[in-house]
Subunit: 385 residues, 4 copies
């Protein structure tokens, strides 16, 4: 029997949204158990949240620093195997950097950090310690997204010419007063961008994951529609990729009436594909001169990467949490491999890493730069440090 | 902190489909942990499967009888809180009856048992011991199905006149040689019906759950299309309900090209509704003279029952496993209430019980009876014993 | 240049619905012009309607008898080439029979006539005079319906096992007081059946057209839900076909909230297809083990029959009126061929004839007979006289 | 009885696509008849095409100049009431200008002309003679587009903030050798833009029609992907409107696999709407906090403008040709009013005019200008001369 991996969590206490998502994603496959936590920025609340979630008294920590010290003080076999960082954005860097530097594997929410300097520092720490570092760009965990990637990579669409990616939400169309809206519209905690940082970076990563295209330049128009808002709540971008492909990226949180409308379209010389997050079990493949195909999870005609990302038979829909769990499953396989010194199967390593996170931070910075410029094009090439 | 409920599982070892589904559904909310199991009908395989799933050596039992004895021998606080019965159908009765009679709560897969006599015996045992007994008619765990039920119950469609329910699959369109097809087409293990028992009973329960209508009579045409098959692989029924409503029920496993097409339509005097399991986040509501409505999970306009059945925000789709987990969540709340003697909130008790299971068995029997008859109508009223 | 065919119309005056449809369908391709009419059962109204539509004074007739005499009195080259019969059902027989017997080609609305006796008499007249006789089962004029027929005929689905056809409307869910509802619910003018005659016969023809299957037996449950209604407003049928295929046919006009929901599904050994009239440009083809295909009009991969039924490029949707016009176009080609003694291309003759009309009448009679019987099965074989 | 309007046509002979569309659109309602034509740029072909379409010998002209002279030579009551200009783009100006100047009403295909100077000259001619001048921006003829316009105008979405309009086609993804591709990719005949002129101008007009927003500035990235192509086959634009709304416009003819994908989304403070040309009978209305609405043609809840644009009952889909015919119907009503000196009902005048055409030409010019500029924003305000 394989022992479960031990997870520690920073952030994600009461009223948090994404912490609970991480816990469900981690629990789904019965391969990971929550063993420690510093679940809030307020020590009492952190401890209370920990106990409520069933943590042992001595591992319901009051702060992430306490948790780091406490875990290091435990015998190696009892320590957490990894930390999940699910705080507001501004805490990603200090927490992830400290744990990675101390040799703990990390799962971090996105966007990775606030600045490219932080991203580079994080990469340095990860490369030095060799820890597994996953970033929960969860949308690339969907089976049909993996099939889309396969279709492009295998050349079935021909050379890619055009990408349209949109992420339309409406929940910030009015002033919203809740914990979520609060920190996500606050530059101190959210970073230099609003919608573009929160969801635009998902869109950027989805394009990168599916097409493998590298951004060359971008032209951005960011707007804050709701009065008093300090960060963009709507962003529209023209994209140019290495090799000549063109693109459009839309990220909006004032598209009133929309829920979580992440949609990707990719067109190559011989055909196109379309995927929409709200009905994630359908991948439309449109090859020139052929009937439109609707590909669906766990069918025999799919690529292995897509098939491996399903847990139950075709027609039994899996959705957001299962895709999220696929990121955890990939990261967990890598952690076990690191732990046991063994070889991890290539396809299990299909999860976003610190490099994807760094590229996302760079994208956000360049978008904000372009938005302030009167020049049409802003260079947006990212180079792995 | 609330301690997790302890689950024992009978069936669900290697190569089984539904056992893994039950485990994921039980794990999702971190409220239940697998502590014991008799996971196969072969003792060695049972024990090996148990160890593989991380059970303690002494609780990886070789048979369900061993498990019953073993658990009863433990101090009360250490025993499993409930047993999940996920064996082929023919074992549901002996296992569920023995555990319920011994005072253990039960979660059983469907159809409940093979005969109405067994169903009545099970009801008697449950009523005597007062155990919680849930049947995993999982489709009624979907948020939009709960909204559908609310729409009917609140009279928004007017008096119901017409129901169309279909469950179209294609996986048995050819001869299939695998473990699943094997026992599901074998009368010894599956019962008197094939498609009608396996999926028709889901359709019947969905109608009953959403509309509250009681069957009055039915007219069935069952066919076994694939040569050599002993049980029906296609069934078509006309339905008459108390109060005059009419219906059509279709259950087929030879509808080649279909995956898991459970679809419900209900029409009342003032409007209709439609729900399709493969895109479960959309409930279409068609009120006469008004725009078609598409209702979606976790929106403010929904009924409480529907809202409570979601875990994450609107636009973040939840699907089959989450609906399944809702059955477990409801049953778990009832088990805790029984354990602690406390009051369980009414809405938490929204899960199918032994009575729903018994009604399903009666439906299967009457369908087979009708299919053999040259009379148009066969009485199909079910009376709670 | 080809001269336009001259059309006479019986019925279809002010307030009529279907007459205007016939006129638009006939006009679309600029191959037919309205030259004479007896547009109402009231002579003054008939004449006034004719003048309003631009008929010459002497050809705006007061009755169909006048029109028959008047046209026969004209020199042969000036006479109408055909009559369109668009009256309430009870007038189909006398008008069509008189014109066919006098050697005029006929386009008749459906259902053809009230009784099988009338149908046989009409066939006799048509066979005697050799006139072209088309019945506007317009739904078989859709390109994607023609593609469906091709898929079945070419064996791509394998032997057909199962058919589900539904025609769900809601406009008679309440008492309705208008001209349309009036005659369609009156046995004197509508015939022995209500919903089954009005729309069930479309469903029957669609199945026959697409699959070529012959009905063997049926089992019907007809209901009149709205109080005071003399004819069925809801009908549900089990079907058995020659060769062993099974089917379900639903025809309802009390499915509140539905508009004109004609849907066909056909399953063979190797796959299925689905078509829905309200989004008629999509034909779903589901072959076992392959991605779902969405076939769309005027694409290179379609059969010739489907391609020939489109007028404009792929992506420019054609719909109800164009499908209706395809019936006229086919009939017109046959009429020209008859007139000119030439050969008409086989594929132009793809329109429903008096035989299809007669089969439909027989289906309606057998459905009503079954509904009154306590036997499960009523023989429903139709034999061309 | 109302006499039919007499139409003359320039262009639209054999092998032409759009001429046949105009003829079907004009014929559908039996209010217009084709009486004269100069159907090709080659005199013999022009005359032959005319005869083939049933024109009288003396009105099957060899050139548009002949036709202008010929018609002016006829007694006033016999002359054509209007000319339809359906030539390649470069001939729109000379033909439309000559006929308008001579007092003939005009229906012209889009884009109106090649340059703003021509557009202004045309406006001047139209204002001088008072002729009716319609431009067949046919997509605004769809009932659900009219409903969309009504929703915005009546304030139901609140102040508009965001527009996304796309027109994705794939037919020019490869080199195409046919008459259509030929002139549409030739600057001499097509104008300064390719995809942006051909279909981008439809997108611009759709936004203008539905929202009433005036463009303030735009930022365009035009590309010619197919080697050797002189005009753009892909265009992506950021838009800024008067009043602060933002937008994205995409027009592409290399989106391989797409047919005729014109899609509009509009978001205001309180909700959004979405319409897609390939399934034109569905208008999605998404009001914040309410179920998504699907509005469909000819239902009682629609605006009058939407209801008046349907010919047949709800559920009987009308599509491209009927929408096109609505432009003709509106223009015809205006022509009759001009002829008879009577008042034309306001709602009948709901068709695009020479001013819409001129604004479209200006948009095309500014898009090309922006594409060549390294400045982010190009002023794009249009002022009616």
């Amino acid at each position: 029997m394989t022992e479960k991996l031990k997870m520690g969590m920073v952030g994600g206490g009461k009223d948090a949204f994404i912490g609970a998502v991480h816990r469900m994603a981690a629990a789904l496959d019965s391969q990971i158990e929550l063993k420690a936590g510093a679940l809030s920025s307020t020590p009492e609340k952190a401890r209370a949240s920990g106990l409520e979630l069933g943590l042992a008294e001595n591992r319901a920590y009051g702060s992430w620093e306490e948790m780091l010290d406490g875990e290091l003080a435990l015998p190696e076999g009892e320590r957490i195997d990894f930390v999940s960082v699910v705080t507001p954005n501004h805490m990603h860097f200090p927490v992830a950097h400290a744990f990675a530097s101390a040799g703990f594997n990390v799962v971090s929410d996105k966007p990775l950090v606030h600045t490219s300097e932080q991203a580079d520092a994080l990469i340095e720490a990860v490369e030095k310690t060799g820890v597994v570092f996953a970033v929960t760009y969860n949308y690339s965990g969907y089976p049909m997204v993996k099939e889309a990637k396969h279709l492009v990579a295998s050349g079935q669409l021909g050379t890619i010419r055009k990408v349209i990616v949109e992420y339309n939400q409406g929940w910030l169309a009015s002033e919203v007063a809740n914990k979520q809206a609060d920190w996500r519209t606050d530059p101190e905690r959210s970073g230099v961008a609003g919608a573009v940082g929160d969801i635009g970076s998902h869109a950027e990563q989805l394009v990168s994951y599916v097409t493998g295209l590298e951004l060359d330049a971008l032209c951005a128009d960011l707007t804050a529609f709701v009065s008093g808002r300090q960060l963009d709540d709507d962003g529209n971008l023209l994209l140019r990729f290495d090799g000549g492909a063109r693109g459009v990226l839309i990220a909006s949180q004032i598209s009133a009436g929309e829920e979580n409308g992440l949609r990707l379209r990719v067109y190559g010389e011989r055909g196109g594909l379309e995927w929409f997050q709200e009905t994630p079990t359908e991948l439309f493949v449109k090859l020139s001169g052929e009937p439109v195909q609707v590909r669906r999870p766990n069918n025999p005609y799919l690529s292995d990467a897509a098939k491996n990302a399903s847990r139950i038979p075709a027609g039994h829909p899996e959705a957001f949490l299962e895709a999220f769990a696929n990121v955890y499953r990939g990261a967990a396989a890598a952690m076990r491999a690191r732990k046991e010194g063994g070889q991890v199967p290539e396809n299990a390593l299909d999860f976003p890493t610190v490099y994807d996170g760094a590229r996302g931070v760079h994208f956000i910075e360049k978008t904000v730069e372009s938005s302030r410029s009167s020049d049409k094009w802003t260079d947006a090439r990212w180079r792995r440090p």
